[in-house]
Symmetry: C2
Subunit: 257 residues, 2 copies
C-alpha cells in the first residue's frame, strides 16, 4: 500500500519552470532558454542546490525537443552554473560567478566599474622590433611593425605602463583615438575578431624609470604581463608587454575544470 512518509520535506526545491519563448525571434530557442535560466540563477530565484526537472518533462513543458533543451543546459554547464549527473539530475551549483579576465581590455574593465580610465600615449612609431618580438609575431626578422607605448591611469592615478607591438596593415593607429579608448575596441572596429590569447603573469621590482612614471617608490613590486593575441584566422594581432602597480592592481580569474 502506498503511504506518504511522515516527514515529507522537499529536499531541494524545484519550481515547475515556465519560460516564454519567442519563436519568431532571430535569437535561437536554446539561447533564449539559457539566458532565462542564467538570469534566474544570477538573480537568486534559483539558488545553489535547486534541482531542475528532468529533461524529458522540461522539454515537453517548454514545447521543445530534448536536444534543443539539452543545448541550453549544456551552455550553462560549460559556464559552470549547472552540474549534470547521469541517473541523478541537473542542479544549480553557484550563482556568483564572476567571470573576468576573458579576452577583455583593461580599459573596458576599468570603465565598467567606474574607475574613469585615461590613456597617455607616450610613443607611437613604426620600427623594426627586437628579434624575439618578431618571432612571437611570427614575422621574419627585420619586418617593420607598430610600436606603441602608453601610460594607463585610473581616476588620475597611474596604474600601468603598456608596450604593444602590432603588425602593419591591420588597423590604422591614431594617437587621438588611442587616447580616447582602448586598443581592443579599435581592433574590433577594424573588423578584427580577437579569438585567443596566451599570456604569462609574473612579478619584479620597478626600475627607477618605471617607478617614476608610475609614481611608486624605487624597488616597488610590479606585476608583469606578457600577452600574444591571435584572431580567428590564427594571425598574431598583437604582442603586449605590460607592467602594473601591484599596490593597485591584481588579476582576477575564474578557472573551470
Amino acid at each position: 500500500m502506498f503511504r506518504f512518509p511522515v516527514h515529507e520535506v522537499a529536499p531541494v526545491t524545484h519550481s515547475p519552470l515556465s519560460i516564454d519563448l519567442d519563436r519568431s525571434s532571430p535569437v535561437p530557442l536554446y539561447f533564449q532558454v539559457a539566458q532565462e535560466l542564467e538570469r534566474r540563477i544570477m538573480s537568486g530565484e534559483m539558488p545553489a542546490g535547486t534541482r531542475l526537472e528532468n529533461e524529458l518533462v522540461l522539454a515537453e513543458r517548454l514545447g521543445l525537443s530534448r536536444p534543443t533543451l539539452r543545448q541550453a543546459i549544456e551552455y550553462l554547464v560549460d559556464r559552470g552554473m549547472l552540474v549534470r549527473k547521469r541517473g541523478v539530475g541537473t542542479q544549480v551549483i553557484r550563482p556568483r560567478v564572476r567571470r573576468p579576465v576573458e579576452l577583455s581590455s583593461l580599459y573596458d574593465d576599468l570603465a565598467r566599474v567606474g574607475e574613469e580610465p585615461r590613456t597617455r600615449v607616450l610613443r607611437l612609431a613604426v620600427e623594426v622590433p627586437p628579434d624575439p618580438v618578431a618571432a612571437q609575431m611570427e614575422l621574419p626578422p627585420g619586418t617593420e611593425v607598430y610600436v606603441l607605448e602608453r601610460l594607463r591611469l585610473a581616476k588620475d592615478e597611474p596604474l600601468a605602463l603598456m608596450r604593444n607591438h602590432l603588425p602593419l596593415g591591420l588597423v590604422e593607429l591614431d594617437e587621438g583615438e588611442l587616447s580616447a579608448q582602448g586598443l581592443y575596441r579599435l581592433l574590433r572596429a577594424a573588423g578584427v575578431t580577437l579569438k585567443m590569447a596566451s599570456q604569462s603573469i609574473g612579478a619584479r621590482n620597478a626600475t627607477p624609470t618605471e617607478a617614476e612614471a608610475l609614481d611608486e617608490p624605487p624597488g616597488a613590486p610590479l606585476l608583469t604581463m606578457e600577452r600574444v593575441v591571435y584572431d580567428d584566422t590564427g594571425r598574431v594581432v598583437e604582442v603586449g608587454s605590460h607592467v602594473y602597480r601591484a599596490s593597485r592592481y591584481s588579476f582576477e580569474l575564474t578557472l573551470t575544470g
Copy 2:
C-alpha cells in the same frame, strides 16, 4: 563550358580524412573523432589553415550522423583548435596550444616538466580560522578547519610558500602523504571532484621571514595567489593563499574568447 583555371593551386589543402572508429569501444564516437583530429592537428599532419571537408560529406565518409560529427567538431572549436564560419567551412587555426593553469596542481605541473617537486610540511593543525577565511569558506565564524602550511621545492630549491584551509570531514590529511604528493591528488583520491576555482594574482615584496624561507634577498618581489576552489556540488573545498618567488615562477594561461 567548364574550364579549369590556369593557375590551379589548392589554396588550402584538405585531405580526404578517414578515421578508424571502434563502435564497440566505450569511448563515445564523437570523442574518438575529436581525439583523432586533435592528434593530427598537434602532430602537424593538419597544419594551421587546413580546411576540413564539409559536414555532410565528412559525416557520410565516417559513417556517422551529422549531429555526432558536429559534436566532435564543436569540442575542438571550444578548445580553440578549429574555426567554423557559416557558408564558408571549418578550418584548423593553430597547432601549438599550450593549455596550462586549468585546475591543475602546482605539484603535477612541476612533475610533468621534470622539475622534481618536493614538499616540506611546515604546519598541519585543526584550528578556528580568521573570520575572512571562514567567510570565504562559507562556514559560520568559529568553525574549526584544517590549516596547512607547506614549502614547495623544485630541484631542491625553494619555490613557494603555501597556506591552505580545508573544511573537516572532506579528507583525512596526513603529513606523510602530503610530503609525497600534491594536495589536489589527495582530494581527488578522496572522491572530491574539483569543478571551479576563483583566483586572484598579485604581487608584493617579501617579508623578512618569507625571504629567508624562500632563500631570497630581503624585499624580493613575490607573486601572490589567492584561490577558492569549489567541487561539483558547489561546496568550498579549499582556500589557498600562496606566494611564489617571482625570480623562478610565472603563471602561464590561455584565454579564449
